[in-house]
């Protein structure tokens, strides 16, 4: 049994589908921050069999939870303060995500206007389709790596 210490302030992302923790790590740009991060892969779970867990010691407001919900709205987000869970957040597919994906369409204005935010909106909730706010290019799940910011 692996033991990872408690965090004082931050977030714990639980019930991550096994194998997706690193993806979320990158989507949240945690590789660019100096937060203390624990990534637990393939933890035993009664409900899921195997799951991943991500613990991040930081100000919870600094984490883009829309990005988490975009990847998997089933993930449980526990907000930690003073070493205790003060809130369990229920995720929903965000109507809009900012700064997570980069539009891949070479004809999009975002390819030349350096300062504008990269925004994607949920155009079809049933089919989980996101499109670029500017050019309406469809985000392609199959080419996920290419769309990272």
């Amino acid at each position: 049994m692996l033991n990872v210490g408690k965090i004082e302030e931050g977030i714990v992302l639980d019930h991550i589908e096994a194998g997706k923790a690193m993806l979320i790590y990158h989507y949240l740009h945690l590789d660019r921050e100096d937060f203390q991060v624990a990534i637990i892969k393939n933890a035993r779970s009664n409900d899921m069999g195997r799951k991943d867990i991500l613990k991040v010691e930081c100000n919870p407001d600094l984490i883009n939870l829309d990005a988490v919900a975009f990847i998997d709205p089933e993930i449980t987000v526990n907000v930690i303060k003073g070493g205790e869970i003060i809130e369990k957040k229920k995720m929903e597919m965000p109507r809009e995500i900012r700064g997570v994906l980069k539009c891949h369409n070479p004809r999009c204005i975002s390819s030349i206007e350096q300062e504008i935010p990269h925004i994607f909106f949920l155009s079809d909730a049933r089919r989980k389709i996101y499109r670029c706010r500017y050019c309406e290019e469809k985000y392609s799940e199959g080419e996920r790596e290419k769309w990272f910011r």
Binding site: R107, C108, I109, S111, C135, E136
Partner: protein, 305 residues
């Protein structure tokens, strides 16, 4: 403050009001001749255009206003690397309303986000061309007397043809319209358009040959294969004359199957059918001025009794 970035910025009821206003302008032009006295439109055209820019300028002048602007990115500060966001903030100090055409998709959206004046999208890359759609719709309404219950064929470059995308999205709010998309496989209509039709419960079909479907069409919307949208010249040359609408084909069409085209035309409509009463593409240009006059008045919230 209101902008016109896509035709969907207006409800069908608001579109009806806009077309009623345009029809009134056509009937009583003198009534509107001073409606925009002292107002200016800035036409910011980063891409070449004859019809659209002059149509906007004529529209403002017909209303008593003035026009200023540039035609081509090389004539603007874009050549020095200025962003669209900065340009529109500067232009907001000079003019009351702006019409922007840009080669990048979504440019008008960025302009509107940073603008102090109403922004009209006059075409953004292969994405949208809402005022073309408004004049297409008005032409259909004037010629057919309605905006519902018909089969419309849309032929040519359906992939990069922004007029097509705007028109389909707008028509797909009216009752009982069947869409027939006619294009070479390389220039098929994008999936976001067909997704939208499916979501809204509209029927459509896709085919390659115009002669296979022309007999069942109530309207035919022809488009040009646009050289400027291709990265590869060879592809353009192979596809540019894929469709040529001529007398032989028109003989098979219904007596009231009007032919629309956003212009400029190259070879896709033979000049031999220009005199055919069903050729409506030059009428569209005239309606374009009335619709743009109506749009300027609406966005500037100017009412004429």
């Amino acid at each position: 403050m209101r902008h016109c970035l896509t035709p969907l910025d207006f409800s069908t009821q608001e579109l009806d009001q806009l077309f009623d206003l345009a029809a009134d302008i056509e009937k009583y032009p003198e009534k509107y001749a001073h409606a925009c006295d002292g107002k200016k439109i800035a036409t910011l055209f980063y891409e070449p255009s004859t019809r659209t820019r002059l149509s906007f300028e004529a529209a403002m002048m017909n209303l008593g206003g003035k026009a200023l602007g540039f035609a081509g990115a090389s004539q603007s500060s874009a050549a020095k690397g200025e962003s669209v966001a900065d340009t529109i903030q500067v232009i907001s100090c000079f003019a009351d309303i702006a019409a922007i055409r840009h080669f990048k998709e979504g440019a008008a959206y960025v302009a509107a986000e940073h603008s102090g004046i109403p922004v009209i999208n006059a075409g953004d890359g292969g994405h949208e061309h809402p005022t073309q759609t408004l004049l297409d719709m008005m032409t259909i309404r004037q010629l057919k007397g309605r905006l519902n219950h018909f089969t419309i064929g849309i032929c040519g470059d359906l992939k990069f043809g922004r007029t097509v995308h705007s028109l389909v999205k707008t028509l797909a709010r009216y009752e009982d319209i069947h869409f027939v998309f006619i294009s070479p496989p390389e220039l098929r209509v994008p999936d976001y358009i067909t997704d939208l039709l499916e979501e809204r419960g509209y029927t459509y079909e896709e085919c390659i040959k115009l002669e296979d479907v022309i007999t069942k069409l109530d309207l035919l919307y022809m488009t040009r294969v646009q050289r400027e949208r291709f990265f590869n010249e060879e592809d353009y040359i192979r596809l540019k004359d894929f469709y040529v609408l001529n007398k032989r084909l028109m003989k098979r069409a219904k007596d009231d199957m009007y032919v629309l085209h956003p212009l400029p035309r190259v070879n896709e409509i033979s000049v031999e059918i220009d005199k055919d009463p069903r050729a409506a593409y030059f009428k569209q240009v005239q309606y374009g001025v009335y619709v743009r006059m109506a749009l300027i008045l609406t966005l500037l919230d100017i009412h004429v009794d």
